[in-house]
Structure formats: structure tokens, C-alpha cells
Subunit: 438 residues, 2 copies
């Protein structure tokens, strides 16, 4: 601590638009990790970075310093090529849960560390925890042992990996410094590269239900992510995907797990499978497991039709203490007591299903957290969601509200009735998969 | 707290360049005062204000909210018109100490709250405390009682007045958010207007030894200060003064007090008296005590020649517990044990006396504080400082180092030898008093 630059000097340099050097950035990250910078100094620098930006060189140094703020998992004992996927987040985004076993069934290890949800609906970790007994809180050594054994592990963020990111992310959330491309890049990549992976595939979402509403900003983020990762020597590709309506037909933790099981059995919703395949293709291509996306697609489809992916999922659940019967009988998942449809007010075509509105309804039902310390009800949510372009009869359900608290049902219904709009003319759904970058 | 806007929403609005409304600014100031905003949220907003600026309307609301964060002294029981002076700070700036009794001797009450020095040399409060027994820590009610009785009081900042400024100033110092015109305005004016004054005169310094190095930035600050004060209904004028070389011949707490006594006896240095008169003139004119600066000058000169100002100083010192003999015999002040000259290396004319270099030498001798918690040696400093344009013989002292620690003498001498430059041609001193604004 005594030898680093003064925090206020580093802050002043970024404030004035200078490019920080390695020593300055490392002092900041060390300060976040060991407390040698006060929180008010960290947040002042975060705001200066938000408003002044960072060069690709600064972002790469920041990512590297954050990645090395804790353990970098050594997975050299895992003989398979190692790939992970990260999504910038969307409503109904349960892709990881079927993708990881599908890719693992194709011979690629998937060491995946995921987050909990905040603000919107539950995260991947919350969804997995709706499986009775499923443990996500593995240590790095348990994580490694499981990867050696079955080639896949889905765990929650641990204090061992990228602790500087945990600290900075919590501060950014309460100081209006979240939506900064260099800070997002460093946050995502520091965690992912600390997992010990060989290659990384990113799902960068744009649209009304995405973190980045505009396609241009999402594109900018995708370019930044892939170029920083490349500068750090990790083959990385970003797939841009649209997030206007939720992915699949369900939003809610146990409901989404049941939908993932359907995907693994070959009966998943088309849109959800399309995104799953697009990401899986890049994972197989980047690891050299398939020569091109078409060949990768064949392997992935075969992992589903052969039952190998479902078997890998069953293995994964059992390895992490969960009840493996979930792979055969989703009825063992927690279920809501109240199921009420939201009927279409008219005959016509579904024009819009605002992902944020659906997320808000799910949040009101108890499927997500408004604050980090809030609990989650794994059973509640929305199922049977109509898709944009679908024809509906008058009175036909646009979705089914799954609730445990009678008082919340009317509010959720009202939100959903506003959220799902039906028009009198045919509507074509916009393309889901956009540009591939990197 | 429960009813105000969320801190992160206020921060995000300023981050995006919006004009904050009264409720948002008041929430921020209340948050700084009662702790309902975390320090990291205060500092994130300070950085956003630094980089995005504030409109005059926002600055006025901020000033008002900070002024009302504590007591606003009610001096209605003081029958005289009430004027104060504030300087943006410079090296050897001891003006307040002779100015306050001179103006008070002319029938204007001077309720003055001053700061301690940080970084440079001692502040007015530190200088006054070198007078044996002198107390600066008066409560607001003691302050009022003394003003009623003798028309002048020089005290240190109390927790009662503008507590939000104390909090924010401390944060700004360690988060590189000091040099922001709206934040400086609100800081200065909230404290000064909480004193209960009728009019305010500002000494806005520019030059190498000033807080604002550039004349243009200092001018911008002077315009902002006077227009915000006017918007708050306080007649205010700013006098721009140059701060390239220190004011007067001394830098150091007791040494400066002795120089102030000389000023009050009519034998003060020309430059120091010129600034003192320029500020005093505006105080007398703004309060209606004199019809114009020339008439004010006559009154102020008379206060010195008649001995009335010196008598008022003696009263002031006695009222605040100090030894009033200081007005007659500066030898009662603490004196340094070591006095060593810095000789001129050559015959010629003094070309430059870098105020920052002199301040640094004084700091090394123990006259100032590097950190807020550091102690001060009242006796040490630099006396007999040559002035720019002065002719010196080879070997003639350019100044005298007053020290108590032998080990520090050589370092101070070396700094001063670099700091005071002598050239072979005549040099004219630049004008000291610049534009008057407001």
C-alpha cells in the first residue's frame, strides 16, 4: 500500500481524461480488494471512468488486474478443451442450463460460474437452486474435481474468484456507474477468465428486455469484449441476439428448469433452441471440436436426439447434490398453488410481449429480487407465454400466472394484460440471431 | 430519508448532464449531513458535478441547502452593518488579521469565520493561535456576544455552521473533486452566508501561488461567486489579486502576526497594505459606510494613523483570551532558535519569488500541515523576504530562515535558493490589484 500512487492522484488523472498506467490501475484494483482505497475513492474513480472512458489498453489492464485479484482456477488437470458462455442478460434467458450439458456431451468441458438475479428475474444460479438439493456454492477445488470427473459444473460466484469485481460491482450498483463499457468488459471478463477456460462465447443481447437497449451500444460492447479478451490471449466470439420478448414460454425459476428439461428432450421452444444452438456452435468451433458452425450444429442436435445431453444433465444434477429425477419428471420441482390465465381480449396476432413488463410481473409474484437480500419463491412465475406473431382467439390464454400469494395475482394479471398486445393484422417476428463478432 | 429520491437516481441524472431540481439537491445535502447518503454515493455525485458542471440555478440551490444544513447565525442583535471578507487563499496572506480591526474601527462589524491551513502554510486561525492564549473555538452564541460588544470576532469553523460543507470538503480533498467552480462557490458561500453577514467581499487570487493558477479560471470563479451570492440576495464584490510572490515579507504563523501588527502601526509592507486597502474599501462601500472607494480609503488610513485599528486589535485579542501585549510588543510571540540567511549569489534585481516554493520551504520547517492531523510550530518560517524588482547586493540576504530543527535548515535554504531568482537587469513588479467584479 505504502508504495502505490495516491488514490486522489490516480482519480485526478482519469478525471482529466488521461490514460492510466499499469501501476495506477493495479493500485485501484488492489485498493478495492484489500481496502487500501476507501469506498468513496473507488466510486469517484468509477464515475470518472464512466464519464471519461478507458482505452482498450486500460480496459485490458483493468481486466487482468481484477482477474488476478483472487484465485485463477488452474484447470490443467481437466484434459478436455474448456469453453464457457456468458450472456449480458435477458428475461427468460435459461440457455446455460441446457447448453452446458449439450456442449459437455460433445466432449468440451464447461466450467461455468454464474450470478444470481438482481432487479429482474432470477439468475441461472437461482433457477438451478429450484431443483431440490442442488448446491451451487462449490469451492474452486470441488469445481475442478467435478470437471475432471464429468466435464461440467455450474456454480455461483465464489469469494475466491475475482473478489475485486464483487466489491466494484456492488459499488457500481448504488452509484449509477453500471452502464460503462470498459467497466462491464472488465467485470465480465475478469470473472470468466478466472475460471481457467480456453475459449469464451458471449451472448450480447440488445432490445427492450436487454441491459443494452440499443443495437449500436450492444455492438460497441461486443466489439470491446472480444477485443479485450483477444488482447488477453483468449479466443472469444460474441453472438448478438435480440431480446424484445422473453426467450421461450416461461419466466420463473422452477418453470424455466422444466422448460430446459424439455429442450434437452428435444421439445424446447424454437426461439430458445435457436439461441442455444447459435452459442453452442461457436463453443464447438472455437475449441476445434467442429470445423464449422454447420458441423457443430449436427453434433449438438445429435447430443439431444441421442439422449446424451439429458444424461449429462442428470449427472450434473446428481454431482451437485440435486435430485436427478428432475431430468425425467419435472413434477418434483416446486409448484405454485394458484394458476390463472391472462385471456386475450380479442382475436388477432400477438404484436408485442414486452420483456420488461413480463419481468416486472414475475418480480411482483416473488420470482426475482428487488434488493440483494430479498428471498425468492422458486415456484412462481409466468408460463405458456404467447410469442410475437402467434395467432390467438378471443379469450385464449396469452399466458398463465403461477402464484402463491393470492393478493399478488390481480396485479400481475394487470401488468401482463398491458404487456402482451394483440393486433388485427399478421406480424412477422424479428430475426433473433444477429451479427457474430470476433 | 424515506421520501427523498434514490441517491443512485440523482447521481445518474447528473452523470447524464441533466439539471438537478431542488428536491434532488436538497436530498444530496441532507444525505451529507445526516448520513442517509453513503460516502461513496456523495463522492460519485461530486465527481459527476466536477465533470458535468452545474447551472447557476443549481449552484444557488446547492449553496442555500448547504448554508441551511446547520445554524445560520442570527446577528440581528448586532446593530452595526456586518461585512466579511474571504480569500481563495495564497502564500503569506495574512490580510484578515489587520483588515478586520481596521474595518471594525470604521464602524462596520466583522463576523469572520476562518479555516486552518492544509497543504500550504497555516491559515488565519493557525496564525491567530500563535498569540499566547488566543482562542478561536468560539460557539455561535459567544461569537454573537463578542460582535455585540466590540464589533469584531475571528473564529474557526464550528460544527454548527454549514456542517454539510465540512463533510463534503473533507471528501473532495481525498477524491480529486476540489477544483470545481460550482463546488467551490457553494463551499465558500454556504459558510460565509451562514455567518449572518449583510455584505461579502471576496479576494479571488490568481497566479503561481494561488489555488487558481490561470487568470481566466480565477475570473470565471469570481463571476460565479458574485452572481450566486447576488441570486441569494447578498451584495457581494470580488477583487481579483495577483499571487505570484508571497504577500509581505513573512511566511510563518508568529512571524506573520508580527507583520500584521506592523501594518496596524502604519509600517506594513506596501503590497500587503495595497491588498488590505482594496478589500477594506469594498467592505465600507458595500455597507454604505463610505460613498466610494476613495472616501473609504481615507477612513481606513485614518483608522491606522489614529491608532484606532490597533486599539481594536488589542480589544479583539483580549476578548478571545489572548495576550493583548502582542499589539505593543511582538517579542511576546513564540520565536525560533535558529535564524539563518539565504544570501544572494550575485548582485542584481530580484526576478521571481515563487510563492509555492516559499510555501514548501515553510512546510518543511513545520509552519504548515501536510496532513490534517499534523501539528504546527508557530515560531518557524521565513522572514525578510525580498520582493520582485528589489535591488540586492551579492551576499545580501534574500530572506531569513527561522527554524527550530537544525536538520531542516539546509533543506529549506536549498529550496529557497532555487525559489528566489536574481537577474542582471531591472524588473518591474506586475500589478497586484486586478479587476473588481460584482
Amino acid at each position: 500500500m505504502g508504495t502505490g500512487p495516491f488514490p486522489q492522484h490516480v482519480i485526478a488523472r482519469k478525471r482529466d481524461g488521461a490514460e492510466l498506467d499499469r501501476g495506477e490501475i493495479e493500485s485501484f484494483v488492489r485498493g478495492a480488494t484489500d481496502g487500501s482505497w476507501a469506498d468513496y475513492q473507488l466510486s469517484a474513480l468509477l464515475m470518472a471512468v464512466f464519464l471519461r472512458g478507458m482505452t482498450p489498453r486500460e480496459t485490458a489492464i483493468l481486466t487482468e488486474a481484477m482477474m488476478h485479484s483472487g484465485t485463477v482456477a488452474d484447470l490443467s488437470s481437466v484434459r478436455l478443451p474448456k469453453a464457457d458462455k456468458h450472456s449480458t442478460g435477458g428475461v427468460g434467458d435459461k440457455v446455460s442450463i441446457q447448453l452446458a450439458p449439450m456442449v459437455a456431451a460433445c466432449g468440451v468441458a464447461v466450467p461455468m460460474v454464474s450470478g444470481r438475479g438482481l432487479g429482474h428475474t432470477g439468475g441461472t444460479v437461482d433457477k438451478l437452486e429450484s431443483i431440490p438439493g442442488f448446491r451451487t456454492g462449490l469451492s474452486v477445488s470441488e469445481f475442478r474435481a467435478q470437471l475432471e470427473k464429468i466435464g461440467v459444473a455450474l456454480i455461483s460466484q465464489t469469494a475466491e474468484l475475482a473478489p475485486a469485481d464483487r466489491k466494484l460491482y456492488a459499488l457500481r450498483d448504488v452509484t449509477a456507474t453500471v452502464e460503462s463499457i470498459p467497466l462491464i468488459c472488465a467485470s465480465i471478463l475478469s470473472k470468466k477468465l478466472a475460471e481457467g477456460i480456453d475459449v469464451l462465447v458471449l451472448d450480447v443481447k440488445f432490445g427492450r428486455g436487454a441491459f443494452m437497449k440499443s443495437k449500436a451500444r450492444a455492438h460497441e460492447l461486443a466489439v470491446a469484449l472480444t477485443s479485450v479478451a483477444r488482447a488477453m490471449g483468449k479466443p472469444t466470439r460474441a453472438v448478438m441476439t435480440s431480446m424484445d420478448e422473453p426467450l421461450g414460454h416461461t419466466v420463473g425459476n422452477a418453470l424455466e428448469i422444466a422448460e430446459c428439461v424439455a429442450c434437452l428432450k428435444g421439445s424446447g421452444p424454437v426461439d430458445l433452441m435457436e439461441v442455444t444452438y447459435a452459442l453452442g456452435e461457436q463453443m464447438l468451433v472455437l475449441t476445434g471440436t467442429a470445423k464449422d458452425p454447420a458441423a457443430a450444429r449436427v453434433l449438438l442436435e445429435k447430443s439431444v436426439s441421442s439422449g446424451a445431453a439429458l444424461a449429462k444433465f442428470r449427472e450434473l444434477v446428481a454431482a451437485q447434490g440435486g435430485d436427478p429425477r428432475v431430468a425425467d419428471d419435472p413434477a418434483i420441482l416446486p409448484a405454485a398453488q394458484i394458476k390463472v390465465p391472462v385471456p386475450s381480449p380479442t382475436e388477432g396476432w400477438v404484436r408485442g410481449v414486452d420483456a420488461l413488463g413480463v419481468a416486472l410481473a414475475a418480480l411482483r409474484l416473488g420470482a426475482g429480487r428487488a434488493k440483494a437480500e430479498d428471498g425468492i419463491d422458486p415456484a412462481v412465475g409466468i408460463a405458456g407465454l404467447a410469442k410475437i406473431g402467434q395467432h390467438v382467439a378471443k379469450g385464449e390464454p396469452l399466458c398463465i400466472v403461477h402464484a402463491n400469494d393470492k393478493a399478488r395475482v390481480a396485479e400481475a394479471q394487470a401488468i401482463l394484460a398491458r404487456t402482451i398486445t394483440v393486433g388485427s393484422s399478421e406480424v412477422a417476428a424479428a430475426p433473433l440471431i444477429g451479427e457474430i463478432i470476433g
